[in-house]
């Protein structure tokens, strides 16, 4: 038996198939995850994301604290309500977690962290918060519902308290507004417009059912995964973790090296890795039938110095005495970090970590056979539109 959100009984009544996710009993789907996926791309769907950790940080030096502990720079947040996506790093550059931080006031920020990493995040944050006299408060009594899709905002706004409704309607992307214990942000994890609503747990079931009466489709973790992967968004534990740093996880854009004087945890290690010919996280489209899955092997040809692709050499022989070929021309391998079937593209897509110089045509090993795939730049789908030609 796992942890349960305030909406657990509601999910059961509405036919959810429940799975364990990071120690929580969460809905996988309510019948068909593909229909739920399409509902989000075409209309509006909603997810119970109350398992995520909402942590409020307060104190006079809270901004200094976050500029130390996050790889992105909260110094960029100047308008109250504005949000920032960031990694929190180990000194060696490995990713402890990815999170969203909201600037509430000069003495208060709100951070939303992953469910599976919540306890270690809290331990890490608390350890460093002490140096800055920052108070760390996990908001256990909040539920969170993500309403996503082209019609998500229009269907949600009538249900908000009038005082919150006007500010929520006016929200720019990636910003939030608060009223009483409610907090509405124009953020999400699907590649569609929408809101993430934090609200008192006691009001969650009533609100969920009112949203459902507005024609918003309940959706589970299954659709959440296919939607985020189409949107080219990383999943912690798959596409990044403590063994991989942001620069090899497609997250260089979230690391604020400027201003140069900001001494964030992990900076020294990342500066040493910057510009090195390391691995990179890329998108893959399978050119054949089949489904890409995490941990499948990706065989790549590396690009020679003149820019031309080098054919993969034959597989290394078992004979250990054979002379080794120069590394530059040997076949190299990478690995699928997240793979799925894209309901929008009707094709299998993936994120994969491959050598930096990999040529765009690759082979993926699926059940012992090699299948052609192509390296592309995510996102695959945004705002209902396919961005990668298939």
């Amino acid at each position: 038996m796992g942890l349960k959100t305030a909406l657990y009984d509601t999910h059961i009544l509405q036919g959810a198939k429940i799975v364990d996710f990071g120690g929580w009993d969460m809905p996988l789907h309510y019948g068909s995850q593909i229909e739920e996926h399409h509902a989000v791309r075409r209309d509006a769907g909603m997810f119970d994301v109350s398992h995520m950790g909402v942590v409020d940080l307060s104190g006079d030096r809270v901004r200094d604290f976050l500029r130390r502990v996050l790889a992105n720079d909260v110094g960029r947040l100047t308008i109250p309500g504005k949000a920032l996506y960031s990694c929190m790093l180990l000194p060696g550059g490995g990713v402890i977690d990815d999170l969203i931080v909201y600037f509430i006031s000069d003495t208060r920020f709100r951070v939303v962290v992953n469910a599976s990493t919540r306890d270690k995040d809290l331990a890490w944050i608390s350890r460093h918060a002490a140096d800055f006299a920052v108070t760390v408060a996990l908001q256990r009594d909040l539920a969170m519902i993500a309403i996503q899709g082209p019609n998500a905002r229009d269907k949600t706004l009538p249900l908000l308290a009038p005082a919150l409704r006007d500010s929520a309607r006016a929200l720019a992307p990636f910003s939030g507004a608060a009223f009483d214990s409610w907090f509405v942000a124009r953020t999400g994890y699907t590649g569609e417009d929408g809101f993430e609503v934090m609200l008192p747990a006691g009001e969650a079931a009533k609100t969920w059912n009112a949203l459902r009466a507005q024609g918003i489709q309940p959706a589970g973790l299954g659709a959440r995964d296919t939607l985020r992967l189409e949107a080219g968004m990383n999943l912690y534990g798959n596409d990044m973790d403590e063994q991989h740093h942001p620069l090899e996880s497609g997250l260089a854009w979230t690391v604020a090296f400027e201003p140069g004087g900001r001494d964030f945890i992990g900076r020294t290690a990342l500066e040493g890795l910057r510009g090195a010919a390391g691995d990179r996280l890329v998108g893959l489209i399978l050119e054949e039938r089949g489904v890409l899955r995490s941990h499948q092997k990706v065989v790549v040809a590396v690009t020679a110095r003149d820019g031309a692709a080098v054919d993969p050499a034959p597989p290394p022989r078992a004979d250990a005495t054979a002379p080794s070929r120069a590394d530059a021309t040997a076949p190299r391998t990478g690995e699928v970090t997240s793979g799925t079937f894209s309901p929008t593209m009707n094709r299998s897509i993936a994120l994969a970590r491959v050598p930096g110089a990999a040529a765009s045509s690759v082979q993926v090993e699926i059940r012992g056979k090699m299948h052609a795939a192509r390296i592309v730049k995510p996102p695959f789908v945004r705002h209902g539109k396919v961005l990668i030609p298939v």
């Binding site: 198939k17 299954g222 899955r293 079937f341």
Partner: protein, 131 residues
């Protein structure tokens, strides 16, 4: 409740077997299995002419979430695969005992079938597994 037709026989790994009038057998996965897997998006059936042994993995069904092997419940030679599933894997969700059949085998060991579960036994097996 899942649908368990009384005229078929079943395996513990949730395949069904139908004895056809021409002496061959058709094989698929049960309604319980398709429901547990969720929306199917890819199906790979064995090549015609392949010799299979009872218990051998010879087809693959993939839902959005995961890939699962399908085991031949009988020994014999594959005489047909359901080609329609390549373009419409969802047939397996919609009609697991009809249009969603996977492959047909010419058996050489009729005794294999005798070892399979009846519908009543399979229903009990599912009930026990759910406890």
């Amino acid at each position: 409740m899942s649908n368990i037709p009384s005229d078929l026989r079943y395996t513990k790994s949730h395949e069904w077997v139908r004895r056809e009038q021409n002496g061959t057998v058709a094989i698929g996965i049960s309604d319980h299995a398709q429901s547990a897997l969720g929306d199917l998006v890819f199906v790979e059936v064995p090549d015609v002419g392949r010799a299979v042994s009872a218990g051998e993995a010879c087809a693959v069904v993939e839902s959005v979430k995961a890939a699962s092997d399908v085991y031949s419940p009988v020994s014999g030679k594959v005489i047909a695969g359901n080609a329609a599933l390549a373009a419409q894997p969802e047939l397996l969700n919609q009609d697991p005992y009809g249009a969603g059949w996977l492959f047909r085998v010419q058996t050489n060991s009729p005794a294999d079938e005798a070892g399979l579960m009846s519908a009543a036994d399979y229903a009990n097996y599912l009930a026990d597994s759910a406890k």
